[in-house]
């Protein structure tokens, strides 16, 4: 989309980010998968609709969502997403954490609204999927 090419919208060019940089940008807490915080993320996708996540072909994607239930982690498992950011101060349950650990995912909890979190990540250069 043309709007994404307009560099005036952002400070930086699109760049890959490590999970730990994402956590710093949105003041998020790593609640699972601490050992994977140096993993590289290529792009971000924000959605509360899991069927939309299941249509993506991208790899090394960070999923940003305000939905916190087991289906988010299962969706990530099926879609090969290994980094999930839970916004709006949502908490990860022990059951979700167990499935995430099995699949070597990193889970982040963020107090910001979806708009705030993705605005910061976009500004910092995390590329949209489309």
């Amino acid at each position: 989309m043309e709007v994404f090419k307009n560099q005036n919208l952002r400070k930086n060019k699109w760049s890959r980010m490590k999970v730990k940089e994402i956590a710093e940008i949105i003041d998020a807490k790593v609640v699972c998968g601490e050992e994977f915080i140096n993993r590289e993320i290529c792009c971000g996708f924000a959605s509360d609709l899991m069927s939309d996540v299941l249509t993506l072909d991208s790899e090394q994607l960070a999923l940003i969502t305000g939905l916190a239930n087991m289906q988010v982690v299962r969706t990530a498992e099926m879609a090969d997403v290994n980094c999930i950011v839970f916004v709006r101060d949502k908490s990860v349950s022990p059951e979700m954490m167990e499935v995430a650990e099995d699949n070597e995912m990193v889970l982040l909890e963020c107090k910001y609204s979806m708009f705030n979190a993705i605005g910061r990540l976009f500004q910092a250069g995390l590329q949209p999927v489309y």
């Binding site: 509360d48 609709l49 069927s51 239930n69 087991m70 289906q71 299962r74 969706t75 498992e77 099926m78």
Partner: protein, 138 residues
Amino acid sequence: MEFNYEVEGGNFAKAGNAASSVKKVLKQLNVDPKVIKRVVVALYEGEVNVVAHAYKGNIMVDIDTERIFIKISDEGPGIPDIDLAMTVGYSTASAMVREMGFGAGMGLPNMKRNADSLNLTSKVGKGTVVELTTNLPK
């Protein structure tokens, strides 16, 4: 080889258990990760459909060297108009299903997109059978 899984209608805590097991099996068989993703995404959508709409269901997965065949059969209300059900955006899902992140009328179209063939038969008041075939590259 053949695998069978039972699916409980309405139990969202377990939705995805079958797709997760199948993913592990396909990984062990060294199937191409891109093929695995297509198969498990289609299967997971089908599994969620059973949990969302049916009373109970069964998933049969048959794997050979040429193709992966999945048959998802349920006992449930059935689908009165299959063409309508295949339309993106058409949904009969409950509020609970929507709270789970589904129910936007994308399940069946997503399954079709991710399989090489999809065959759907349904009897109103009895149940639905979805057959998915994914060809394996030679």
